[in-house]
Structures are given as C-alpha cells and as structure tokens.
C-alpha cells in the first residue's frame, strides 16, 4: 500500500498522527531496535530512519553529533539497509529513509531504490535534493513506488509550494521555522498562517516539526496539520535516560 493511503487510513482513527526520527547506528542498532519497539507500541504512526552522513548540513547539533558518532562506531550503509528490512518485517507501520543525497548517489540511485523497495521502505526524505536536481531520482521514485517526500519552508512562496507539491508524494514535510533541526520554537499565529498557506498549496497530508516536547505542542497542531514530527527530542531522551524513557514520553504526547 502506498504511503499517503496508509497515513489517511490512520487519520480516520486519530485526529493527529505522530512521526518519530532515529539516527541509525546511534548509539547502536540494539538501542535503535528497542527505541523503535517502544515507539510502535505507544502508537507512533510513521518512523524516519536517518542513514548517517558525515556532512549533515541541514541538521542541528544533537543530530549532527548522532550522525558523527554513528559513523565513528562503524555504521555502514549496508548495515542500515539490513536493519531497515528487519524493522519493516517486525512492525506494521510505514518506515522512511531520511538521508543526504550523497549516500544515495554513491550507492547508485537505481540500486538504492531497488534495495529500499526490497527492504519495505515507503518513502525518502532527502533535504539537500531539490526537485531541480532530482529529475532521475523522482522518476525512479515513481517507478519503484517509494514516495519522494518534499519539504516546504517558511521562505517558500505560494508558487514554489505548488511546484514542490506537484513533485512530492506521500505527504509534505513542513519545516516550521528557519534554521536547523532540533531548535524549539514558539508556535504562534505566524506558524498557523504558514500552515494555512501549506494547506492551500496541496491536498497531501502535512507533517510539521518545530522541536515538539509535550502534549500541548502536539495538540496545538490538531486541525492545522496531519502529523507531528518528533526529532531531536527522543535522541536527547535516550542519551539522558536510556531507551526505556521513550515509551512513556510517546504515550504522553496524545
């Protein structure tokens, strides 16, 4: 089943979905496995698994450090693919890959899509690949039925949003603020206005992340977006309190 339909089915039962993020190999695949289990058991609807890259240009300090440590620990792309296959076979929610374009480019676009489909991956988020540079990538995405998830930013004009929406599939990832991942921002009228602009540009589900930390942050999005994204927060949580802290945290968000 395609990603957008999977999310729509889930939206019939919940007024907002949760997407979480992990960095593969950080602090280890064993911890990743336990964190994902807790996330799924506590109702997470979708998980983006970041394949670490040495130059994570769009990420903030928490995720940058996780990328570096994962690579230092010896995490290879092949390990990430094998782990992804194991997760999609174990849990009945959609899994995505988030990574930078060089990881895919170096592997070979076509082999990477082939392998990702084999692993049961439903979508890709590639923050440094705008549609202008992703012609063959978008073509392969259609061919292999893996959703290319495109990103809206507050700096995107209405016209630009429509262009992006015409290339994207699955859902649109709305970056709530200028800046890198993991910085907490106050959700206010300007964010609501921005989400209204996003809504007018596409009929696809909207996912939003802005350093979400608690139930209030999530409920503020109900009716304005379809999926709340929890990024750096769970990495910090695992760093400080171990994998066991993830379940209760997720359970408390909705």
């Amino acid at each position: 089943m395609q990603l957008e339909q999977q999310l729509r089915d889930r939206l019939k039962k919940k007024d907002i979905l949760l997407m979480t993020h992990i960095v593969l190999g950080y602090p280890s695949f064993d911890v990743n496995r336990e964190v994902i289990r807790q996330m799924v058991e506590n109702g997470v609807d979708c998980i983006e698994m970041q394949i670490p890259f040495s130059e994570p240009m769009a990420d903030g300090p928490v995720i940058v450090r996780a990328n570096q440590d994962a690579i230092k620990n010896g995490t290879r792309v092949a390990d990430c693919l094998a782990f992804a296959a194991e997760m999609t076979a174990s849990h009945d929610i959609p899994f995505l890959f988030m990574t930078y374009y060089n990881i895919i480019f170096k592997y070979g676009e076509k082999p990477f899509f082939e392998k990702a489909r084999e692993c049961g991956i439903k979508g890709f988020i590639v923050p440094d690949l705008p549609p202008e540079e992703g012609e063959s990538f978008l073509q392969l995405a259609a061919e292999y039925e893996i959703a290319p998830i495109l990103i809206f930013a507050p700096t995107s004009t209405d016209e630009r949003m429509r262009v992006l929406a015409s290339h994207g599939r699955g859902f649109i990832y709305c970056v709530a603020r200028r800046g890198v991942t993991g910085t907490k921002s106050v959700i206010g009228q300007d964010v609501f206005d921005y989400l209204q602009r996003c809504r007018e540009a596409t009929r696809m589900p909207l996912a939003v992340g802005f350093g979400i930390q608690d139930r209030d942050d999530v409920s503020a999005l109900i009716g304005r977006a379809d999926m709340a994204v929890i990024g750096s927060q769970t990495i910090l949580l695992v760093d400080e309190n171990g994998a066991g802290a993830v379940g209760p945290f997720i359970a408390g968000l909705r």
Binding site: F53, S54, E55, P56, M57, A58, G60, V64, R65, Q68, I71, R76, V77, Y100, Y101, N102, I103, F105, K106, Y107, P127, D128, L129, P130, E132, E133, L150, I151, F152, A153, P154, T155, S156, T157, R160, L164, V175, R178, G179, V180, T183
Partner: protein, 414 residues
C-alpha cells in the same frame, strides 16, 4: 566552462543541492549576480575599489635568480600576496561586498580555513559597516592564531567549529547552518569557487581579475603568451582566477597543484584530482570529485597548508580536468618547505604554504623548458601569516627560544 548543459552545471559538475529554506535567497542571489555580470559599470566599480583599497593591479615579478638557478624557462610570479590582507582572497570578498550592498543585507558570514578568507571578510565588513561572523575549524584556530586575532580586532565574531574533522569543510557546514537560520538579513560570503551555484561561477568571475592582469603583463614583459601557468588548488579560487583568461589560449598549459601532504600513498593528503583517491560525489551543495569512502562518507584530509586541506574542489576545475584542459599534480609537505626555503633565499619572497605548492611543480618543470619560454606561478598569498607553522616546520631554534621566553613572560604577568 562555456558549455553549460544545465543551469549551474559545468559539464557533469556543479549544481545547487540546497535545502528548501535557501531556495528563495538563491533565486535573489542569482538574479543580482546576473545583473552585475551584465553591467559594465559594476566591473568598473570593482576594479576601482581594488585599485584604491587593495593593491591592484598586482605586479608580475620576473624571478631572475630562480630562472638562472634552474636554467630553463623564465619564471614570472604573479604577486597576489601584495593584496590588502595578503592574499587573493580579498578579490572575491570585495566583489561579494559590493553585491551585498546592492542586495541590502546587513550581516555577512564566512567560513575560513587558513584564516585568510576570514580576515579578508572581516576587513570588508568593517569597511562596509556590516555585522560579521566567521566560522573556523577548531584545529585551524589553533594553527592560525594570528588571523583569529586580526579578525576579532576588526570586529568580527570568530566561532570555532568543533564538529567533524574541525577544519574547512566543517566550517562550511556550520556557515550553512547559520545561513538557513538567518537567511533574511544575512549573506554567506563563500570563500572559494565551490558550493552551490552561483558561487563557483561568481567567485571565479571576481578572481578572474588575476588572469586578466597577468595576460597583459606577460605580453608586455615577455612579448608572448607563457608556456605554462602553475597554481595551487584547495577549493580552486586562485587557480580559476589566473587560469580563466588563458583557457582559450590553447598553447598555454594550465597546471593545478594539490596538497600531497605526507604523500599520496600514505592517505594523509588532499589529492582529489591528480591521484586515484577522489570519486564523484555531492556534498556542501554541489557535485564534484571528493575524497570519500565507498559509502560516501567524507574522509579526513591532511596538508601542512590549512587553505588546501579540503575534501572537495571547484566543479569548474573538475570539468576542466575531465576535459583535459587543466593538468593536475601534487606536492608533498616536505617538497613545499624546500621550495619555500629556496624562494626566500633566491628572491627574497615569502610565498604562503598554500602558494608554495605551485612553486614546487614549477621548479620541477622549469628546467625542461627553453630560456625563451616563460612560465607564471600564481603566488596566491604571502607566507608571513604562517610564521608559527613555518618556524615549527623548519624547527627553528632561535624562534623556539623566543616563544618560550615570551610564554614565560605572559605566565608571570598572570
């Protein structure tokens, strides 16, 4: 570089692999750059600024003693060291400064490796009344302390970058992170002919003033075109600067010299094009030849010269390499020290460690050519900024003694 397949591409290389949040600002930057490029008054304003604020045109010096020493070609040296702040970096920075004024932005940020680009940017920001933040790898802050001192004295904030290898590439990542956060008011003054389009083309355009002058000067002093031109290649801005004018001159051989570090075979180097360690990749917003592993993770590079210690290279140079228009060689740290020593003794010139790489290769090839031929070495910067590194590499006893005594003095003050 005239055959552009797709916008921002040079053959197979280049592009603009940027996060969406920067899309709009790149549209504006491209539009402004195209306007400037098509406006002869802009170039005139740029040349005027460089001749009154910096030292343009920089001389072309005939190195008579070195020429005689090698007994081959007449060696000419293009003196970019005589720019204000001591390197070719000033050309690009002042050009982008004029662009920033036109765009009405109030703040500039920059990455720096050796610190030359940071110092040049801090100078420009002071002159044009802009706020300025410089990102510099922690390792480079340690290596190039005097430049940090000058940047801070000129009012810039210097932020040491502690991610990754703590060198130039990490400073670039951090500058991009600042830019995506403060995009509305800030311009990123990228220091070399790398990064997303239009930076490679724009930086090469500002730097092309070097080759335009050198073309006129060599005709006046030597009467015909040089046989070969040598330039060191880190990101590639000084090389593009001197090469661009000569690309259509098919009899002029263009030679780029990369940092061989401890030697290609050791893996501790920054040789992307002249060896076999580089491979195509996409990072820091552009496609070029990178030093990376089979997964696409960038490797750690090494050079005695901080300004050459970089994993990527200008996409324009990757194209010229692929098309065979520019030949690439490398020089080791040891060879660099020997060439620097010889140049100081024979000509009284102090090339930067970066520039000394070009001298190494020129010295290898000069004897093969006839005394009727001329070669040009681009002396991209002056070496006195490297006094701590150079004195350390020469293991100079009297310098060490001085540092120890000064250190004692300071610790007693405390």
């Amino acid at each position: 570089m005239d055959t552009k397949d797709k916008q921002g591409f040079f053959g197979n290389w280049g592009g603009a692999y940027i996060p969406e949040v920067l899309h709009q600002t790149f549209l504006e930057l491209n539009a402004e750059f195209i306007k400037c490029k098509n406006d002869p008054a802009f170039w005139q304003e740029y040349v005027e600024l460089m001749s009154t604020y910096s030292c343009r045109p920089t001389p072309l010096t005939h190195a008579a003693n070195l020429s005689k020493h090698f007994g081959g070609a007449q060696i000419y040296i293009k003196r970019e060291d005589l720019n204000h702040t001591g390197a070719h970096k000033a050309n690009n920075v002042m050009g982008q400064g004029l662009l920033v004024k036109r765009m009405g932005k109030k703040r500039v940020i920059a990455e720096t490796g050796a610190g030359q680009h940071g110092v040049a940017t801090a100078t420009m920001a002071a002159k044009f009344g802009l706020e300025c933040t410089i990102y510099m790898g922690e390792e480079d802050v340690r290596r190039q302390r005097p430049n940090v001192f000058w940047m801070e004295k000129m009012g810039a904030i210097v932020i040491p970058v502690t991610d990754g290898s703590r060198t130039l590439k990490d400073a670039i990542n951090e500058a991009f992170r600042d830019w995506v956060t403060n995009v509305d008011e800030t311009h990123y003054v990228l220091g070399t002919a790398c990064g997303p389009h239009p930076f490679p083309e724009m930086v090469a355009w500002f730097q092309s003033i070097i080759g335009l002058e050198a073309g006129e000067q060599i005709m006046k002093q030597h009467g015909r075109m040089p046989a070969r031109i040598f330039a060191c290649v880190g990101g590639g801005s000084n090389a593009m600067g001197i090469f661009k004018r000569f690309i259509p001159e098919s009899n002029v051989e263009l030679v780029g010299v990369e940092a061989g570090g401890h030697g290609i075979e050791t893996g501790a180097h920054a040789v992307r094009l002249s060896g076999t360690d580089g491979s195509p990749g996409v990072a820091q917003g552009y496609k070029t030849m990178f030093l990376q592993d089979s997964d696409g993770q960038m490797k750690t590079t090494h050079s005695v010269a901080a300004g050459l210690d970089y994993v990527g290279v200008s996409p324009i140079l990757s194209d010229l390499w692929e098309k065979g228009r520019v030949r690439f060689e490398s020089a080791t740290d040891t060879e660099v020290m020997a060439a620097l020593d010889l140049t100081m003794k024979k000509e009284g010139l102090i090339p930067a460690l970066e520039s000394s790489h070009a001298f190494v290769q020129a010295f290898k090839e000069a004897p093969q050519l006839s005394p009727d031929d001329a070669i040009i070495i681009n002396m991209s910067g002056r070496g006195d900024k490297d006094i701590f590194t150079i004195a350390h590499a020469f293991n100079d006893p009297s310098w060490k003694d001085f540092i120890i005594k000064r250190g004692l003095e300071y610790s007693q003050d405390k």
